[in-house]
Amino acid sequence: MERYRLLKNEATADIAFIAYGKNLAELFRNITIAVSNIMILNVKKGGNKKITFVMHDKSLDYLVIDFINKIVFYKDYKNIIITDARIKIDKNFNLHCSAVGENVRNLKDNFLVDVKAATLHDFKIKKEKGLIKCKIVLDV
């Protein structure tokens, strides 16, 4: 199964993608992998930095947006590119994330573009034939 797909004909100034997952935990993991690959060319999953955080939102839309914004936050605040994550989400949209990543300095030769925020522009999330699809536009 494809983890994510970049969209060629959308987001004129920025970057749009669709992430996939058989369940929410997998969807959020694939979003993590998509965002890191948008910032760093061919970035490997893993790394020696570990980050754990919890978050809650009142809807799935905002949980996705705030989750990406948290990845962006650690990139600026701790200079860590989160490359992979183990996610647990309950039905009340409480999310627990155990993430791994790499210091930005070690990846500088493969920089692509700095993701600065996730937007609600044309945001879509739906389940089709057992697969969750989520479309997100990133401000870069």
């Binding site: 060629k8 970057i15 060319l41 905002y62 930005v104 030769d109 700095d114």
Partner: protein, 489 residues
């Protein structure tokens, strides 16, 4: 109104100025030639129509020749709102608060710079950090991790802070929009996350469409104004132009308040046409809190560009072994793109203060404006229009007509024609580098793939978008500038 009906309703009311039917509270007004108007995407008009329905909007929802789809409203858009009845919206300002351009002149010529261009660009690349998650310059240890009280001073004082710390001159301040400081800034309205994202980012360029370029004066369209700005006084004069904003600090402020305003809408029964265009009444507590936080973002960006100016001066001094005075490194002007500010205009023969939102648009004050001082009072405010790294840029000036017709606003850049993902697949990196080499442009970038996203063919024709505004009388061309060295994040 259906989108095709809306498109068909545009009538040319003046040279390169088009008005639609009323699409909400006001019509849309577009400044562009017929070709650019035709090529604008349907969503540009949908978004401009959404903005035309916002409470308290005055006269028009404006689009400029560089307009393309944005979040909430297009990039290349402006709208003025009544202070009492109107709103403030982060989506109508943009994530990168006070993303802007600065132009610096030198006394050097192409002949003097060309032999050292590689050395110069490499030095600048080292001294002005660019790329993903970049931190403040290594050499400026005092900026490496600002405390909360230090960042509060930066955010509330703006360029005055940078001057106090020795990063600039009084003349730099005079040549910065709003003199580099918005008095409404209140750091207590800024989140802890914004502080944490911004505390290591002063003096950094960022990535995407942010760049630093060494340019040469290419062609003059108004030599008298150029000379008044000490430009085009010598043949092949070299200048420095760069584009950056408020980095993670400003983005976090925008993200925080979009969420707050969506909650505000839900609580107050506001039916949003687009969540990205969430708003609050300007005079509400929520609206004022954002205005004060956003003003901190504006000030942060002014300081960011001032620190980069300091680094540029240091790089030139070390490469050319001359003093700053001999090099003539002076700020021509610094303009903002993504802002909301209180400005005064004459509406139906009455002076009125408005909250003017500019998203991917530049202030364009004409000669005599009370906000301008010195020589600018006579010639008008410089408008710096950045093009793609291949095709060059422009220096223009604002006009009285802009103040009368478009709330003193004009275009900001070329405007994109294709997405970054599309650009990666269409533009061949080797051919791009070869083409730039042929044109005499030395490029230093973190990633060649990243560079292709900014290739010239990903943008509209800079000449056409600038000419459109010149012919409309909203900003006037002074000089075209061509790149010889470029730094990309």
């Amino acid at each position: 109104m259906e989108i095709q009906e809306l498109r068909n309703s545009f009538k040319e009311v003046d040279k390169n100025a088009w008005e639609s039917e009323n699409v909400g509270k006001v019509p849309i007004k577009v400044y562009a030639n017929r070709n650019l108007l035709k090529k604008m995407e349907d969503d540009v008009f949908r978004q401009a129509a959404n903005a035309a329905s916002l409470p308290g909007i005055l006269k028009y929802s404006y689009l400029f020749s560089d307009a393309h789809i944005g979040y909430g409203v297009p990039v290349g858009w402006a709208g003025a709102f009544d202070l009492e009845e109107g709103i403030i919206s982060p989506g109508a300002i943009g994530f990168d608060i006070n993303c802007g351009m600065r132009l610096i002149k030198t006394n050097l010529t192409l002949e003097e710079v060309k032999p050292k261009i590689k050395e110069l660009v490499d030095a600048l690349f080292k001294m002005v950090p660019a790329g993903v998650g970049s931190n403040s310059p290594q050499s400026l240890t005092a900026l490496k991790s600002l405390s909360k009280s230090e960042l509060k001073e930066v955010a509330e004082e703006g360029v005055d802070w940078a001057l106090r710390k020795g990063y600039g001159t009084r003349k730099d301040k005079e040549r910065t929009e709003e003199k580099g400081s918005l008095k409404y800034a209140d750091f207590s309205k800024v989140s802890e996350d914004a502080f944490k994202r911004g505390k290591k980012q002063l003096g950094t360029l960022g990535s995407g469409n942010h760049y630093l370029e060494i340019q040469v004066v290419n062609k003059d369209f108004n030599k008298e104004i150029a000379n008044s700005l000490e430009l085009d006084m010598i043949k092949n004069q070299v200048v420095v132009m760069f584009h950056t904003g408020s980095r993670g600090f400003g983005h976090q402020i925008a993200s925080d308040y979009i969420k707050k305003f969506i909650d505000y809408s839900a609580k107050n029964g506001i039916d949003l046409k687009d969540r990205q265009l969430a708003y609050a009444p300007f005079n509400s507590e929520e609206g004022q809190n954002y205005f004060k936080a956003m003003s901190c973002g504006i000030n942060f960006a002014f300081v960011n560009r001032q620190i980069i100016t300091h680094q540029i001066r240091e790089a030139f001094k070390s490469i050319f072994k001359k003093t700053e005075n001999d090099l003539g490194l002076e700020v021509v002007y610094d303009v903002s793109h993504n802002t909301a500010k209180i400005e005064e205009y004459s509406i139906e023969n009455r002076k009125k203060k408005v909250i003017i939102h500019r998203k991917g648009a530049t202030r364009s004050f004409g000669p005599g404006n009370k906000e301008l001082s010195g020589i600018l009072k006579r010639i008008g405010q410089p408008v710096i229009v950045g093009g793609s790294m291949e095709t060059g840029s422009y220096l223009c000036v604002g006009t009285k007509k802009a103040e009368e017709d478009s709330f003193g606003t004009t275009l900001h850049g070329s405007g994109r024609t294709m997405s970054r993902v599309a650009a990666r697949s269409v533009i061949n990196p080797d051919k791009l580098l070869e083409s730039m080499k042929t044109k005499g442009i030395y490029v230093k970038a973190n990633s060649i793939v990243g560079l292709t996203e900014e290739g010239g063919s990903a943008y509209k024709d800079i000449n056409e978008v600038v000419d459109s505004m010149d012919m409309a009388g909203i900003s006037r061309k002074v000089l075209s500038l061509r790149p010889i060295g470029n730094i990309k994040g």
